[in-house]
Amino acid sequence: MNFELDQDQQMLADSVRRYLADNYDFESRKKIIASPEGFNEQTWAAFAETGLLGLAFSEEHGGFGGTAVGMMSVMEALGEFLVVEPFLPTVLASRLVAKLGSGEQRDALIPGVIGGEIKMALAHSEGPARFNTAYVGARAERSGNGWKLSGAKQVVYGGAVADRFIVSARTSGDTTGTEGISLFLVDANAAGLKRTAYRTLDNQRAVDLAFDGLELGADALLGAEGGGFAALEEAIDFGIAMLCAEASGAVRSANDDTLEYIKTRKQFGQPIGSFQALQHRMVDMFVTQEQLKSMQYLVCSRIDTATDPRERSRIASAAKIKTADSCRHISQESVQLHGGMGMTEELKVSHTFRRLTIISQQLGDADYHLQRFAQLSS
């Protein structure tokens, strides 16, 4: 047993942190989130240049990683600096291409993703679904040689700047059945794809998609017809491991900011950090941070080595419960300990609050995963 990162992983994580420290400080980020697209081309180009975008793929697919453990330090750094560029959406969608795609599909997309020219997003969630992975109301029918898609998708993270979507649609079965879910590659500029972008609480951008009789070629189908559910579950479990690591970085940032604040803010002639009522709360925040970090190690390590999908999903759900609870604890307490200043946009901690609040919901909230964890434990 060892907790050391291998040298390459450590070097990459360090270079990402250095880049973000130099180029993604609070003031720079402010400009990015105020821009209409909420996206910075230079950041993305730097991600490609440092090799970050290749980290999501194994060597066989032209990348140089593909493991959760290999990516977790990067996700921590993105969490620490509250990066809004859609790294995780691109990773989740393009890994599905690597996993399910034909040789042509992979060649058409993965080198472009690694090079930073193609951004992707996973358009799966729908309004009535809440977090149920099996819920797919969108339909796909055969049409000539190809397909015709009708339906709607909601809160697609990364959708505002995505070049290519993976859209889930049902080719058979009931709306909540695990069989009959198919995945399709859809160009963002496809005629008949209505895309509505909006800001999310954490200053990222999401889109809603609507499509009615959207025509696709035969080569749009990704993987086997009707067999998308297992791959979606795997992608979500991987995404949870990444979110856990991102939350871990954001939590550390909130805690560092809060500790610094209570050491310097003076009331009644002394730093407020000298009051035991605040000290003990700060310690509880620190314990939460370390327990979350442990959960991050556990889930990333198990995601990489699990052979049984049920066990993999069980650990992922456990990690998401821990992540959601930790996000809530730290976001609420860090603002409270900052007092009124914690409420303002002027301090980073309020932005960390916003991201942590979204992470706790993203890919399933604690209640959803408690239910899933119990089902998978029995």
């Binding site: 959960m295 390590s301 821990k322 408690l370 239910q371």
Partner: protein, 396 residues
């Protein structure tokens, strides 16, 4: 990063597990498993079995009879013992007095006491807390006055665990009441419990159990050769002890066993809807959250071990093992009591109670819940642990 044990570590775990299966007496295991009190002889019997194997003192150096294990092996051993339902090894001799003697004792003291501690010939207890000195230990008042070749000790200790069984007590006493810094007037004394002038009075806890005592000292004469380290340097000894062997305070192995136990109960006991407690969503979710916290705590514990092994011993942050570990232990006892529903009202049914319908184990659950409130109070209350982290780790 690899969170799996190495093949060597797995082989070690299997060896320990197999040995425990063969050598842990069924009747001891059954008692531990059903939450019954263990007698003095039962506690010592288990330690003697381990001593014969050479495993009674995992943390001791080989020269004094330790097995020569590294930190990971010690952790695995501890965890396997906990999981198997082995009786606890009492820390007072093995992991408190002994390390102090190894560090500060004279050659004569080591020769005299260490082998007897190892082989469970002496039963030790700890004389630290006093009625007026709990968390603020340095305010202790028990006096020791030099009189020729003896110290004469007067005063009172409290919360003395299992003093009713003890042959010896190690005590912090005040040898100089007039030092400007109160920590400087304290000394560390070993006292034979059979010495005239010692009275042990039981303090019965709210679960009806006799675990702790008050110990009174009335002109108790202690030979000066029983002083450990120098006179007035007792605080140094106490601090050394506080920093020693803190990596087992999470009690992960025991909590894993109790979690398995809780799940068995939840699968059997009725809920209010004709199903089992396992199907009661509110109950199940609380149980899941405890399980997840325990998963994380195990990794946290292993991370500290890893730092230790890498030559970077963790600091005050290990106090979090005690905080979270005890919260988990308490949570488990609370959920067990809850799983029993209205039957949990019964208090320690025995055979004398005749045809009671409630089984004895169920009738111990509420008592155990009450008893476990102690865990967040003893060994440095969880508030003191938070003070330690706040000061030493966070710099507050």
């Amino acid at each position: 990063m690899d969170l799996n044990y190495t093949p060597e570590e797995l082989a070690f775990r299997d060896e320990v597990r197999a040995w425990l299966r063969e050598n842990l007496p069924a009747e001891l295991r059954a008692k531990v498993d059903s939450y019954q009190e263990l007698s003095r002889d039962e506690l010592l019997r288990w330690q003697k079995i381990l001593a014969a194997k050479g495993w009674a003192a995992p943390a001791w150096p080989e020269e004094w009879g330790g097995p020569g294990w590294n930190a990971t092996q010690r952790y695995i051993f501890e965890e396997e013992c906990g999981f198997a339902g082995a009786p606890p090894l009492l820390p007072f001799g093995l992991s408190m007095c002994a390390p102090v003697l190894m560090k500060f004792g004279t050659p004569e003291q080591k020769q005299r006491f260490l082998p007897r501690i190892l082989n469970a010939e002496d039963f030790w207890c700890q004389g630290y807390s006093e009625p007026g000195s709990g968390s603020d230990l340095a305010s202790l008042k028990t006096r020791a006055v030099r009189d020729g070749d003896h110290y004469v000790v007067n005063g009172q200790k409290i919360w003395t665990t299992l003093a009713q069984h003890a042959d010896w007590i190690f005590c912090l006493v005040r040898t100089d009441p007039n030092t400007p810094i109160r920590q400087e007037g304290i000394s560390f004394l070993l006292i034979d419990m059979k010495t005239p002038g010692i009275t042990v009075r039981p303090l019965i806890l709210m679960d009806g159990g006799h675990e702790v005592n008050e110990v009174f000292f009335d002109d108790v004469r202690v030979p000066v050769e029983n002083l450990v380290h120098e006179e007035g340097k007792g605080w140094t000894v106490a601090k050394f002890l506080l920093g020693h062997e803190r990596l087992n305070t999470g009690r992960v192995g025991i909590s894993k066993r109790e979690l398995a136990h809780l799940k068995e109960m939840a699968a059997e006991r009725p809920d209010n809807q004709g199903g089992t407690m396992m199907e009661d969503v509110r109950f199940r979710d609380r149980m899941s959250r405890l399980e997840i916290e325990l998963m994380a705590l195990e990794i946290t514990n292993l991370r500290f071990l890893d730092q230790m092994r890498g030559g970077r011993p963790p600091g005050a942050e290990v106090s979090m093992l005690k905080i979270r570990g005890t919260e988990i232990q308490q949570g488990l006892t609370e959920l067990m009591m809850q799983a029993a529903g209205n039957q949990a009202a019964a208090f320690k049914i025995t055979q004398d109670d005749g045809a009671a319908q409630i089984d004895p184990l169920t009738s111990r659950l509420a008592a155990r819940y009450a008893n476990f409130r102690k865990t967040s109070i003893y060994a440095g209350s969880n508030e003191i642990q938070r003070n330690i982290i706040a000061k030493a780790t966070l710099g507050l």
